[in-house]
Amino acid sequence: MKTWNLSQLDDLFAAIAGRQTLYIPADAAGQPAFTRWEPGLAMTRALNTGRSAKDLFFPQVENLAAFQISGKTISVSPAQSPEEDYVIFGVRACDCRSFDILDSVFLAEPADTFYQARRAHATVITLACTEPEETCFCTSLGIDPQAPGGDISCWMAEGRLYLQANTPKGEALLASLPDLGEGEKPETNPSVFDKLPLKDLDFSVFQEKPLLDWFNSPLWESLSQSCLGCGSCTFVCPTCQCYDVRDFEGGGTVRRFRCWDSCMYSDFTMMAHGTNRPTQKERFRQRFLHKLVYHPNNHQGQIGCVGCGRCLQKCPISMNIVKVAKALKEGSV
């Protein structure tokens, strides 16, 4: 295993950035976010970023194509594919798991080539957690926050950074960096995670009963009652992947772009003749059943949540997947 002195972390970032574009979690624009590294940019002290690492593979807005229209004729120019290799440093185990979930949607045939290209060009460097937040519950989803995946896994201990390559891409990057020392993987301390208040959530129950039992639960009425439909949960969620496709017309060119959307919004399923999810109850139910039942049904039991706790922190009315899962489970006994 390779090591590096944490007091010279800047030099490591400079060495990586000398080869590829580097993103690190840094305090930017009011909250920690994955930010392009430039000399002087320091890593955030926060455990995790406000928005998840999905932004780097599935940006909030991206152009798909441009159309030139002249009289009755149309010509199409597809947007350029991302072609530069880049490195994301400091991805936590929860966000790293979210890539698997996003992959199962975007890389399913026919693959989304925009997402696919970003995934292929990225080298993901994860960072093990040592001090979780009270809102963390990744361990309930079978994630080990002290053994994150990615192309390279990192641990910070006793003033040093320890790096372990997990893939050929990770090995290539480590091999290209000069002056890395050799060391042993540091001791980890799992006991801190055993004390987390949400460590014992059970998500397996949602696969054990028919879909309609969950759908028809009388609890949706009360659970959804205070939901404002603001969509904050979907925007900070590392696994929310729903998108809209829209056109912007200006200067004789129409740009077709893709942007994040939210099933919590009233126009999400609105068609010319109306919507099949007319109230917040149906939209709220869609969001949670998608993560707890529908996605797992379609992807070998893979729950559409990674326990990062962002929605617990951000929801203005403190409603979240933990409360919903607990209520449904207890209501079903």
Binding site: L64, A65, F67, I69, K72, T73, I74, S75, V76, S77, P78, A79, Q80, S81, V105, F106, A108, P110, D112, T113, F114, P210, L211, L212, F215, N216, Q241, C242, Y243, D244, V245, D247, E249, V254, R256, R258, D261, C263, F268, T269, M270, M271, A272, H273, T275, N276, R277, E282, Q286, L289, H290, V293, Y294, H295, N297, N298
Partner: protein, 277 residues
Amino acid sequence: MNMRQDPLIPMVAQVTDIRTDTPDVKTFRVVGLDGKKPFSHIPGQCAMLSMPGVGEALFSITSSPTNEDYMEFSIKKCGCVTNWLHAIEPGQQITLRGPYGNGFPVDTDFAGKDLLFIAGGIGLAPLRSVINYVRHYRQRYGTVDIVYGARSKEDLVDYQEILEQWCREEGVNVHLTIDNPQPDWDGHVGFVPNYVKELGFDTGKTVVMCGPPIMIKFTLAGLEELGFQRDQVYTTFELKMKCALGKCGRCNIGDQYVCKDGPVFRLDQMTRLPDEY
């Protein structure tokens, strides 16, 4: 030119002919820029049709795959994209991508069966593809019954084709109905679900149904009264879509995406799913 192949990037196609079917339905004939049919499809499959700057929406392909020359879409004027389409003239280019969805099992489950088609209003559009496919390969199927209803005689889509071709074909029985009596109509008057019950079909038939959700629900109840099982009945759904690839996340009924798992479902497959459509 960048020849990027992403499933969201459409091809350019051309509308070569527009037929006015009813006061609010037109049928658009579409070919690629090379003058040929844009792509092949299975009856019941759909395509994303768009005018950049106006929007993109999913429509069922109403022409049969056996038509080698062009594709047709019967489209009701009811929203943003469809209003635009109803205002265009032949020669207009549009964008197109597809085909999407599973289509009807015309070469498997339907083979050798007596078929009963039930359609309401613009719901004939996806069934026309199947009906003309079945007529083309007539010997592969048993008897064909078509029950089709609309608000008025003027609202019957493909009326000329029905009269001049379907009604004259041996082994094809057409049963038309309209909601209210009108002077120039001597056919049946009444709603589709009741008419189906009145006609009282043999329960050995395979049913292919499309229409407004309310028609589907009442007709299914009537069919069950007659002794039909849900696994004999096929229908096709439509919900809002942006990608038609199972990724944008909005056309699901429970864990099934209408765009890729449907739009065709056998009704017994819907029993475990919510009534959210």
